[in-house]
């Protein structure tokens, strides 16, 4: 049996979107009829897919600009334009959107940076050193991936109740407590992926640096991390999105409205008299999604190659 072709983990070059076929010149023109037969129906399929993909987003964008602010007035899309919902979003003390936004950003960035760093360190050890328990460690990490933290959230809740009594700063209703929980999941989710990337960086580079007198730490920080920077950014982004999306753990840890995150806050918005809050919710959704979508767009060619080598959006 031949060993199956796994999408190659990223090496320096394929990080870019494979654009080979884009640059080949299109077939010679043979008139509109031929175009219809070859490319026309493809565009039709593409357009249908675009409608399916985009209409919920267009719908929420339209809702955010409609000042009547509710689902109860079923206007056609974009019949009215107003920024009123965006103003309302920041003026309701019951729903502190600005706090949620800030909290989500702080928790997301801290978790992303921390977990990528922790994961990269571990991946470096697995990739570059040979030590007892290495294989068992790698297998253990794969096993841990099968047990996502959400499965243990009852235990997490009980652990935090105990920690609250000893160290209130990392206990219940504390963002630091939540970040530490996320960091606990870092090794399980990121290490194996980065281990694959680090393996593709030639060992000769470290060896020659070592001969020149560089320490392990220096090789790691100034060479390995720098060479794999694009993929580290992609993994941070995916980790950031994963944190942003988490509802389950965040909702059992954070209870004070001002300390909660966007996922909990906007969910409550929708849960309480949804139809009246629709406009303001839409505005909140657009503002919350904007940073992620923009980063995503800028990094898409890196993301695509990162995805094909195994990252799954969490």
């Amino acid at each position: 049996m031949t060993s199956p072709a796994i999408p190659a983990p990223v090496t320096g070059e394929p990080l870019a979107w494979p654009s080979g076929s884009d640059t080949t010149s299109p077939e010679p023109r043979r008139g509109p009829q031929h175009w219809l037969k070859v490319a026309g129906w493809r565009h039709l399929v593409g357009l249908l897919a675009l409608v399916f993909a985009l209409f919920p987003i267009v719908f929420v964008l339209s809702g955010s600009l409609n000042p009547t602010g509710s689902l109860t007035s079923p206007d056609a899309l974009f019949s009215v334009f107003s920024g009123q919902n965006y103003l309302d979003l920041f003026s309701d003390p019951r729903y502190p959107f600005a706090d949620w936004f800030r909290n989500s950003m702080i928790i997301g960035f801290t978790t992303a940076a921390g977990s990528v760093f922790i994961g990269a360190c571990a991946a470096y050890a697995f990739s570059r050193s040979r030590f007892r328990g290495r294989r068992a460690g790698l297998l253990g990490l794969i096993l841990l991936q099968m047990f996502p933290q959400v499965l243990a959230y009852v235990a997490i809740f009980l652990l935090l109740m105990t920690l609250t009594e000893v160290f209130p700063a990392i206990g219940l209703d504390q963002q630091l407590g939540l970040i530490m929980i996320y960091l606990g999941g870092a090794l399980g989710t990121n290490t194996y992926l980065m281990y694959g990337f680090f393996n593709t960086i030639p060992k000769e580079i470290d060896e020659s640096a070592k001969i020149d007198g560089a320490s392990d730490a220096r090789i790691f920080f100034t060479m390995i991390l720098r060479l794999s920077l694009p993929i580290l950014i992609v993994i941070s982004l995916l980790s950031f999105i994963g944190t942003l999306n988490d509802f389950m753990i965040a909702s059992i840890v954070l209870t004070t409205p001002e300390r909660q995150t966007l996922a909990i806050g906007l969910y409550q918005y929708v849960n309480v008299s949804f139809s009246q809050n629709w406009g303001v919710f839409s505005a909140g959704a657009i503002l919350s999604a904007l940073p992620v979508v923009i980063i995503f767009w800028f990094l898409q060619r890196y993301i695509v190659s990162g995805l094909t080598s195994g990252a799954v959006k969490g």
Binding site: L50, T72, F126, I142, F147, A152, V154, A155, L266, L307
Partner: protein, 514 residues
Amino acid sequence: MNTSHATTWGRGFLLKLCLMALVDALGVYAVILAWSRQSWVIAAFLVISLIAANVVYFSRRMTPAKYLLPGLFFLAVYQIFVIAYTGYAAFTNYGDGHNSTKDDAIAAIEANSFQRVPDSAGYPLTVLEKGSDLAFLVTEPDGSAALAAADEPLAPAPEATFTGSKATGLEGYTTLALGDLLQRQSEILALQAPLGEDPSDGVLRTPDGSTAYAYLPVLVYDEAADNFTDTSNGDVYRPSEDGRFVDDSGQALEQGWRVFIGAKNFTSVLTEPSLRGPFWSVLIWTFVFAISSVALSYFLGLALAIVLNHPSVRGRKIYRSLLILPYAFPAFLSVLVWQGIFNPQFGFMNTQVLGGADIQWLTDPWLARLCVIVVNVWMTFPYMFLISTGAIQSLSSDVMEAASIDGAGWFQIFRLIKLPLLLVSTAPLLISSFAMNFNNFNSIYMLTEGGPLKHPTDQAGSTDILISFVYRLAFSGVNKQYGLACAISMMIFVIVATISALSFRRTGSLEEMN
């Protein structure tokens, strides 16, 4: 030459020294804190971690450990410990009514069983305050004053000042005015001031803030015999195996404690009628949901990739940039937006697309299941489109050309050559995607909360997958069943781990690991 730099003086070493000093300072502080709160386990764990950190980072060897330690620390606490604890709790009856230890349960039962001594005389009462603590100043039948508070048994208070024959003030205490009495009403009504050191002496309570009465415990605990006796009728409650005090007729006291119940949580899922039905339907639906989400979105994404990845199609990059949007849009928001689209009265689907139809998208069991899958496919197909496009572009064209020279048709090439090759190269990603969807809590909970429920008392709703079923058992029900929830969590783990292990072995993707 491989000289270690662990203790060579230099900029790096100084930086490390500073960092370790910080870690040690924080660590020692935490140990002291844990020690002072008598959390021996936490203190011991911290001491071991601190020693390990210092040994590892100041050693000249152990290079791998230097890089593994930070991750291992968090992993140990927030993943390995919680998994182990989940495993432990799965074999207990932890939950409402069995929340704590036996000693706590005994104390709670005693505290809850006080009843006013029938026909006993009342003590004229003045409520006092010291700091924020309340105290009762009562006038005894002989005219003297006595003071009692929550943690101070009744004792004579000779310095009390009297208004008429009633003691109304005491030095060092503030007498509460009527307004304060009203404001702190619930605190005052809940206060139990002991009459003596022994709980069986009874307590003073007040129903109105102006008269206090003696209350005696109805249930008295006998330490030697380890049972409770009901003083009103002589019933004896003995500890039972499932962690409660039960009398001869089978009547149990409300407060129980946590005990090991063996595999009962696991067996009751499979045998108890009220759980067995919901569990099996949830299990089947979890598989249907995860498999159909992955399969549908994969084939949709693959089809799009094949159609659009053709040299004659211009603007492929524009298509990609736009099709990536549902994937880039944060998932929890997408689900909430779709909830608005499917709203039966005002949603876009009924009012605009179907011109005023009245379809109960999310409250009809089968439509709700359909909606959950549609929404999930919407969120995942761009991902599948991206990975399929990548896989197609990395296919070698030689085989295809050879096949077409041999006279194979377009469809034959696709079915016999392209599809198998693509499946092989994307299989590991599909397995991961399946494992993720198996526990896709957001997609279910934020759209339907696992509902609709056929009956309000049902244990599981029509769209509940295992993980949302666990959430319902542990947090959203009337009766919180942590032990049972943990048992099902462990079952999910076993299912996902088995499936993933089998399929990874089949696809051989672990062979690369050396």
